[in-house]
C-alpha cells in the first residue's frame, strides 16, 4: 500500500508548494471587506487603483447575490463585510428589505448619482448603468422594422424572437419595469406575446442568445449591451446590430451595478469614502469601461466603444421598482409560460 500513500503525500506537497507561491504583498494599513456579486475581474481593477491611491487594502469575497445577503443576515453584528456590491437593483432592494444595509447621508453621492439610480432611502447607490435593449440579425431584419419591447409581442415576430431564461434577474427587472409602466394585466399580455413568438427555448445566458441571433436561429433578441460589446470585440464580423428600444416611448430599460454600506460594518466612514470614490469621475470611467457599461455620474462620458453605439434615451423610472416588483414579475412570467 505504499504507492497510494506516496501519491497522497506527493499531492499534499504539490498543493502546499502551489499555495506558497508569492501572493500580492499584504499591506499593514487599513483594510476594507467587500461582498461582491460582481465578479472579481470586474471589481479588482478599481480596488487596486483605490489601494494605490489611498493605501487602503480591499478584500473581496464573490458569490451569488442571494447567498451574500443570507451571509450578511446570518453573520449579523459579527459580519466582517463593510460594503455589498450587486449587479442589479433588485437584489440591493432585497438586501435593504432584509435590513442588512445602512442608510447614509452623503452629499457627494447625491450629486454624483442621479436620483432614479439610487435608493430613495439612501441605503444603496447605482455605480454603473447597464442598458438592456434589442439586438438583431442585420441580414434578416432592418433596423427600421424594430421599435419597442412591447412590439416584439406582435404576431409579426412569430418564430423570430430569442430570449434569455426568465430565471435571470435582468429579465425579472425588465418585466418588473413593464409592470410599473403598464400595469400587471398589460405586462402579462406582452410577455405571453413574447413566449408565443419564441424561435427556441430560452437561453441560459445573453452571449449564447446573441450568438443564436447572429447564426440566424432568430431575428431579434433582448440582451445587456456589454455582452454585445464583449462578443463583437472577439468576433467583429458577426451580422449583429444594436437597436435602442422605446426611444419614442418610455426609453431603454436600464439597471445598475450598485453598492451599499452594510448595517453592521465596523468602518462605516472608510466604507463611505470608498463608495464616494467609486462614484467619482476618476473611478467612474475605470468602473464602467472595464465592462462596456456607462458611468452613472453625469460628469463622466462613456468610453469611445460605448459611444459608438449612439446615444439613447433611458427610462426615467427609479430602478428601485425592479426590486419592489420583482416577485410579481417572476410570478407573471411563470403564469405566461416564460421559462
Amino acid at each position: 500500500m505504499s504507492r497510494p500513500q506516496a501519491l497522497f503525500r506527493t499531492l499534499g506537497a504539490v498543493a502546499l508548494a502551489l499555495c506558497l507561491l508569492p501572493a500580492a504583498p499584504a499591506l499593514a494599513g487599513e483594510k476594507l471587506v467587500v461582498y461582491s456579486a460582481r465578479i472579481e475581474a470586474l471589481v479588482k481593477p478599481m480596488f487596486d487603483a483605490y489601494t494605490k491611491e489611498t493605501g487602503v487594502e480591499i478584500q473581496a469575497v464573490t458569490d451569488k447575490e442571494g447567498a451574500l445577503v443570507e451571509r450578511l443576515k446570518a453573520e449579523g453584528a459579527n459580519t466582517p463585510a463593510d460594503l455589498l456590491i450587486t449587479t442589479d437593483a433588485g437584489n440591493l432592494w432585497q438586501a435593504a428589505q432584509e435590513g442588512v444595509l445602512r442608510p447614509i447621508d452623503s452629499p457627494a453621492l447625491a450629486a454624483a448619482v442621479p436620483a432614479n439610480l439610487r435608493d430613495p432611502d439612501q441605503q444603496w447607490f447605482g455605480l454603473t448603468v447597464r442598458a438592456r435593449t434589442l439586438f438583431f440579425n442585420t441580414q434578416m431584419v432592418k433596423a427600421g422594422e424594430l421599435s419597442t419591447y412591447e412590439d416584439l409581442a406582435q404576431p409579426a415576430w412569430r418564430g423570430k424572437l430569442c430570449l434569455r431564461s426568465s430565471k435571470k434577474v435582468y429579465n425579472q427587472s425588465l418585466v418588473a419595469m413593464l409592470i410599473s409602466e403598464h400595469g400587471e394585466a398589460k405586462a402579462e399580455e406582452i410577455v405571453r406575446g413574447w413566449v408565443a413568438n419564441l424561435a427556441a427555448e430560452p437561453f441560459a445566458d445573453d452571449t449564447r442568445m446573441l450568438e443564436a441571433v447572429a447564426a440566424g436561429q432568430c431575428a431579434v433578441g433582448i440582451a445587456n449591451t456589454y455582452y454585445y460589446g464583449r462578443l463583437m470585440e472577439k468576433k467583429p464580423d458577426l451580422p449583429l446590430g444594436i437597436f435602442w428600444a422605446n426611444q419614442s416611448t418610455g426609453g431603454v430599460h436600464i439597471n445598475v451595478t450598485g453598492a451599499g454600506l452594510t448595517r453592521h460594518g465596523k468602518q462605516p466612514a472608510a466604507a463611505q469614502k470608498l463608495l464616494e470614490w467609486l462614484a467619482s469621475p476618476q473611478a467612474q470611467n475605470l468602473f464602467a469601461d472595464v465592462n462596456f457599461e456607462s458611468p452613472v455620474n453625469p460628469a463622466t462620458a462613456p468610453s469611445a466603444a460605448v459611444q459608438a453605439w449612439g446615444s439613447f434615451k433611458a427610462s426615467p423610472l427609479n430602478v428601485v421598482e425592479a426590486g419592489r416588483l420583482q416577485a410579481k414579475a417572476v410570478r407573471l412570467m411563470d403564469r405566461a409560460g416564460y421559462r
Binding site: 500500500m1 498543493a15 501572493a23 447567498a67 431564461s165 430565471k167 427556441a200 445566458d205 452571449t207 447564426a215
Partner: protein, 560 residues
C-alpha cells in the same frame, strides 16, 4: 468499577476483566460517536427546516399551479433517464472490461474513469457550445444541407440527461467493476456448467450478485442528479432544483426554498433506506481469496465492436469535450499566471484535507454501526449521509447559519472567544456534511466484507473495540479507504456553491474561478481553469483505477 471500564475501552485488559459491563460501555461509546457525527451533519439540515416557517402560503399555491407540475415531470423524466443510462453504461462497460479481452481493453479499463475528472457543469457548457444551433457542428451541417436544416433541440431534458449520464456513469462502472471482479471465476464456471449461456449467466448470476454495488452506484447517481443545478441551468431545463433557486433568488423566499428542499431530503432518505434494504436482505461477504476470472477473448470482428463501444463512450464523455476545452483555452492563451497555480494548489489542499476528514468520519461511523448495531444507529447513519441529496447552495445556507449560530453561542458558553465562521474549519465541516455519503459507501462496503469471526477472535483474545479498529479493521480496510478518499477528493475539487459560501478570504479555488467566468457567459475563458481542474483530478483518479485493478480479489458467496 471505573478501572475495569477504562481497561475495557483501552483494550488492554486481560480477558477475565472484560465482562459484560465493559462491552455495554463500549456499545454506548460507539452509539455516542454515531449520534455525534449525525448531529454535526444534521444540524445544517435542521436549521433549514426551521426556515420552513417563513414559507409563503400564497407562493406555494402559485408554485403548485404554475411551476411544480412541469418541474416534477422534468425531474422524474431526467432522473429515470439518467439512472437507466448510467446503469446500462456502467454495468455494461464493467462487464465488458471485467470478462472479455479485446483490443484496447487494458487502456479502457482505467480510461473509462476519466470523465469523473470533468465536472458535469463543464461538460454541459462544452456540449451546448458545440452542439447548439450556433455551434460549429450545426453551422457546418447548415453549410452542407442548406440554411433551413433544423435538428432536435439540444437544450432539452434529453440533452441534459445525456450530459449527466456521461458524467455520472463512472460511479456505477467503478462499483460494478469491483463487483464483477470479485465474483471470481467460480461463480461463472458454476453458471456455465449448469448450462447457462454467457448472456444468461450475466442476467441470472452476475447481475443479481452485483445488486448491492449497482444499487450503491445508482444511489449516488440519483442523489447527484436530484441535487444538480449547474448542468440543468446551462440547458435551461426546469427541475425541482431550479424551482428551489427560483423561490430563493427570484421570489426572495428562502423559506419556500427550504420547504421544497426538505422534499428532496425526504426522497433522498427513502432512496437511501431502499438501497440499504436491497443490500441488507442478503449477505455478500467474502469467504476467502479467489482468482479473478481471466478475460475471455472475443472472436473475430465482434471484438472491434467492444472496442468501438468503449471508445465511443470515452470520446463523448471525455476526449471530445477535452479537445474543445483545449481549443478554447489556447485561443485566449495569455500564459500561465501565478493566480491560477495558487488556485490549483488550494483546490488540491482543500480536497485532500476534506477527503481525509470525510474518510475518517466515515470509518468511525461504519465501525460504530458495526460495534453497536440497532435501529437508532442505523437511522443516524442514514441521516448522516443525507447531505448529498439536496442542492449544494441550499445546504450551504444551512451550514453557514449553523456555524454562525455556533459562533454566537459557544463563546458565551465556554468563555473563550473563538470563531469557526470564515476559517478552514468551517469549509471542511461543510464538505463533511455534503460528501459523507460518497466516502461512507466504499468504507461500509469494505467493512461488510470483513468477517465477524475476525472480530470475535480478537475479542476473545482481549482486544477492546478501539484496538480492534486500529489493529484489524484499519489495515484490512486500507484499499477501501483510499478508494473513498479518491472519490471524495475528485468530488470536493469540483464542488461550487459550498466553496463559494464558506471559503475563507482569498481561498479562491479553480471551481470558484469557473463559476465567475461562466456566470458571465464567458465559456471560452472558463476553459483554462476547467482544464486545470481536470488535470488536478487525474491524480486521484489514477489511484482509483489502481484500486479497482488490485483490490485483493475476493469471491462473494451468499451466506449459508
Amino acid at each position: 468499577m471505573p478501572a475495569i471500564a477504562d481497561a475495557g475501552l483501552g483494550g488492554t485488559a486481560p480477558l477475565a476483566l472484560t465482562g459484560a459491563n465493559s462491552g455495554e460501555r463500549q456499545r454506548l461509546f460507539w452509539r455516542a460517536v454515531v449520534l455525534l457525527i449525525a448531529a454535526l451533519v444534521v444540524a445544517p439540515l435542521i436549521v433549514l427546516l426551521t426556515r420552513i416557517g417563513d414559507a409563503d402560503a400564497s407562493l406555494i399555491e402559485h408554485l403548485l399551479e404554475h411551476v411544480l407540475p412541469r418541474v416534477f415531470g422534468h425531474t422524474l423524466l431526467l432522473t429515470t433517464l439518467v439512472a437507466g443510462a448510467t446503469a446500462a453504461l456502467g454495468a455494461g462497460l464493467a462487464w465488458l472490461i471485467s470478462r472479455y479481452r479485446f483490443p484496447g481493453r487494458d487502456v479502457f479499463s482505467w480510461a473509462l474513469l476519466l470523465p469523473l475528472a470533468l465536472p458535469a457543469y463543464v461538460l454541459a457548457f462544452v456540449a451546448v457550445g458545440l452542439l447548439d444551433f450556433a455551434g460549429p457542428l450545426q453551422t457546418a451541417l447548415r453549410a452542407l444541407f442548406g440554411p433551413d436544416l433544423r435538428l432536435p433541440p439540444v437544450r432539452s431534458v434529453g440533452g441534459a440527461a445525456l450530459v449527466l449520464s456521461l458524467s455520472f456513469y463512472p460511479y456505477v462502472y467503478l462499483l460494478c467493476r469491483s463487483a464483477f471482479d470479485s465474483q471470481g471465476q467460480r461463480a461463472m464456471e458454476a453458471a456455465r456448467s449448469l448450462g447457462l449461456s454467457r448472456r444468461q449467466a450475466f442476467w441470472r448470476v452476475a447481475l443479481p450478485m452485483s445488486r448491492p454495488w449497482l444499487a450503491a452506484g445508482l444511489l449516488l447517481v440519483v442523489m447527484e442528479t436530484l441535487a444538480d443545478f449547474g448542468t440543468v441551468s446551462v440547458f435551461n431545463v426546469d427541475t425541482f432544483t431550479t424551482a428551489i433557486y427560483k423561490s430563493w433568488f427570484g421570489l426572495f423566499s428562502l423559506g419556500t426554498a427550504a420547504q421544497l428542499a426538505s422534499l428532496l431530503l425526504l426522497i433522498g432518505f427513502v432512496l437511501a433506506m431502499t438501497e440499504h434494504r436491497l443490500r441488507g436482505r442478503a449477505g455478500y461477504w467474502s469467504t476467502g481469496r479467489s482468482v479473478a476470472a481471466p478475460g475471455e477473448p472475443i472472436d473475430g470482428a465482434r471484438r472491434w465492436l467492444a472496442t468501438a463501444a468503449c471508445l465511443g463512450v470515452l470520446l463523448l464523455a471525455f476526449l471530445l469535450p477535452l479537445a474543445q476545452l483545449v481549443v478554447w483555452a489556447t485561443s485566449g492563451w495569455t500564459g500561465v499566471d501565478v493566480v491560477s497555480l495558487r488556485a490549483a494548489g488550494r483546490t488540491l489542499l482543500l480536497g485532500l484535507a476534506a477527503a481525509g476528514l470525510v474518510v475518517a468520519t466515515a470509518l468511525l461511523l461504519a465501525y460504530a454501526r458495526r460495534e453497536s448495531p440497532g435501529r437508532l444507529t442505523e437511522m443516524a447513519a442514514r441521516l448522516a449521509t443525507l447531505g448529498y441529496a439536496i442542492p449544494g447552495a441550499v445546504l450551504a445556507v444551512g451550514v453557514f447559519v449553523a456555524l454562525t449560530l455556533a459562533d454566537r453561542v459557544l463563546p458565551a458558553l465556554t468563555g473563550v472567544d473563538w470563531r469557526v465562521g470564515g476559517t478552514l474549519v468551517a469549509i471542511l465541516l461543510a464538505y463533511v456534511a455534503r460528501f459523507l455519503a460518497v466516502g461512507f459507501g466504499p468504507v461500509e462496503a469494505g467493512m461488510a466484507r470483513i468477517g465477524r469471526s475476525l472480530d470475535d477472535a480478537a475479542r476473545v483474545l482481549g482486544a477492546g473495540s478501539r484496538r480492534r479498529l486500529l489493529r484489524i479493521h484499519l489495515p484490512l480496510l486500507t484499499p477501501s479507504l483510499f478508494t473513498a478518499a479518491a472519490l471524495v477528493l475528485v468530488d470536493v475539487m469540483k464542488e461550487m456553491p459550498i466553496t463559494l459560501m464558506t471559503r475563507p478570504f482569498g481561498w479562491d479555488t479553480l471551481a470558484v474561478r469557473i463559476f465567475e467566468l461562466t456566470s458571465e457567459g464567458q465559456w471560452e475563458a472558463a476553459a483554462l481553469p476547467s482544464l486545470a481542474l481536470v488535470a488536478t483530478g487525474l491524480l486521484p483518479l489514477s489511484l482509483l483505477n489502481r484500486q479497482a485493478e488490485t483490490t485483493p480479489i475476493r469471491r462473494s458467496t451468499p451466506p449459508t
